[in-house]
Amino acid sequence: MSDLDPIKAIGEERLLPAETTTKSITDMVSRVTETKAPLGWWIVFLSAAACAGLLGIAIGYLAWTGIGTWGNNSPVAWAWDITNFVWWIGIGHAGTLISAVLFLFRQKWRTSINRFAEAMTIFAVICALIFPGIHVGRLWHAYYMLPIPNQMGIWPNFKSPLIWDVFAVNTYFLVSLLFWFTGLIPDFATLRDRATNKVRKTVYGVFAFGWRGSNRHWRNYERAYLILAAISTPLVLSVHSVVSFDFATSVMPGWHTTIFPPYFVAGAVFSGFAMVMTLLLICRTVFGLQKLVNMNHLELMNKIMLTTGTLVGYAYAMEFFIAWYSGNDYEVYVFVNRATGPYWWAYWSMITCNVISPQLFWSKKLRTSIPVMFVVSIFINIGMWFERFVIIVTSLHRDFLPSSWGNYSPTIVDISIYIGSLGLFFTLFMLFIRWMPMIAMAEVKGVLPNAQPHHAHADEDHGHAPAALPSPAE
């Protein structure tokens, strides 16, 4: 039949239940934005908004008082700020992976989760962008990071990985936003056309850009989507690589390793999938979307987490191996100290959460159990935060001379800003699922069985023999 039918020989099943129609997809997804919010939404939204308020207060206090309100001090000059930055950026990566890389690989199951994951990317990058902005200390000088002509006649040092990071992260944010918005245009048109009151019709109408589903438009639209996917794929690999350059190009033992770029990218995808999983499990239950995001999708995501978790475990092992193999005493010391020194608990939390917990997914029974995957996804989120903490703090706290050694512990301001960033993330996310179509309706419709015409010309770019089916129209 069509190329959209599952390949039974390799055990593929239909992505969505047989009774799903284009109409039922529209109804299921649009209803979330049209009916009153369930109580659960209000509970999460108000608590998240309260935490986001805490973020505002903490940043205000930081700006007023100075960076000394953080626990950072020589030799641990980077601590929770950069840990949080790398953690948030990493979480964002799964969204781009799902929307762009899986699109290029024609993984049709992505259509149920891509909108969701892209939104997560954007909000995670917003949270990430806060930290480099505030860690400069004098926030009003943050614009020095940008190449703006100024009366001092100086420019950023473009040879610094830190300025590469500014470009990488900002590009990542803007490209993700454009990709997300491109996908939203047809779905905003759906909400506009269903709107029964003038305010909804106007607001969604403005964002729908007057979309009328024209095939002449779809032609350019699909090409745009393909190009955005094709340029986002190298972009997402570059962003975390550039973030890792912040560390790898320095001469700190524990940071100065060539494995960092691929290791950071694998870790980013790993943590991002975990965050998508956590959010997805909550939302599909709260909003009753089990039909559109079903066990097939969840199981495939768990398999990706198993793969990337194992890759990350390999990277941890390889770091130790190379430290030993290098014969460099400082390098060896950093790694032995990581596992057995004052921060041993952080290191072993990381290993437990990131390497051991995803191994449960080898078992089909555990991989398809909702409570297990929820707990594991939370574990991975925690573990990946510890990974960045371990890399940053354990590498810094033992300086080259024992006279310069020190320890780090966070202050209440550090903790408030971290919790606040979670609050901001969930606030934005709650607003998104309430007011925007959280599943890409147009894309899911296009991969339904019988959604595409069984037409001779239709198959030519898929390399199939033309399916000469009798047409009911004739």
Binding site: A168, T171, P186, R212, Y221, A224, V242, H457
Partner: protein
């Protein structure tokens, strides 16, 4: 709309003939017939992109790629020019023993700006080629047309087409087995 003063009914003229279809298979056959009948200003409307519809409508390839290529090269060139000028000419600085204009260290930013400009070119180019945003279009005068974004398919033939004739075109569309045909009018 009742009022005391005699109200002139707004003058309208035919804008679009709209045919509604339920099934993508019927739609694609109908589209081929419209194409073969020689209409130029016509379109197909669907809730999601349909495979093979570009051929059925006789449309060529999208030109978007060329716009993006130009933008990508612009991004690459601007990144190089920015860094070479700022760190190499205007305020030369030697960092890490490297010359003021050092190509390897420029790679990440050249790459990022290439991507950024390409993405902007893709998004704005797509909108430009499609003539969007366009919030007013006579097709929205039809009440049934709203169904396009849920599950209905439409073929629209514009009155501006040289072959358009209210009677003949309507009969032509009715011969394509639509579920419904409507003349959409716009006020002049």
């Amino acid at each position: 709309m009742s009022s005391s003063a005699p109200v002139k009914t707004p003058k309208t003229r035919p804008a679009i003939l709209l045919a509604e279809f339920e099934d993508p298979n019927e739609l694609i056959h109908a589209a081929e017939k419209v194409r073969d009948a020689g209409y130029q200003k016509w379109d197909v409307h669907s809730p999601y992109p349909l495979h093979g519809m570009d051929d059925a409508m006789g449309l060529g390839d999208s030109r978007l790629g060329w716009i993006v290529l130009v933008m990508a090269l612009t991004g690459l060139g601007s990144a190089f020019a920015l860094m070479a000028w700022a760190n190499g000419v205007e305020y030369p600085i030697i960092i890490g023993g490297k010359p003021p204009i050092s190509l390897p260290s420029m790679v990440p930013i050249c790459f990022e700006l290439t991507i950024l400009f390409s993405a902007l070119g893709t998004f704005l180019g797509m909108l430009g080629l499609n003539g969007l945003p366009r919030h007013h279009h006579p097709i929205f005068e039809s009440d049934r047309f709203a169904g396009f974004s849920t599950d209905k398919f439409f073929i629209s033939i514009e009155a501006a087409d040289t072959q358009f004739d209210v009677g003949a075109t309507r009969r032509f569309l009715e011969g394509l087995h639509p579920t419904y045909v409507e003349l959409v009018e716009e006020t002049t």
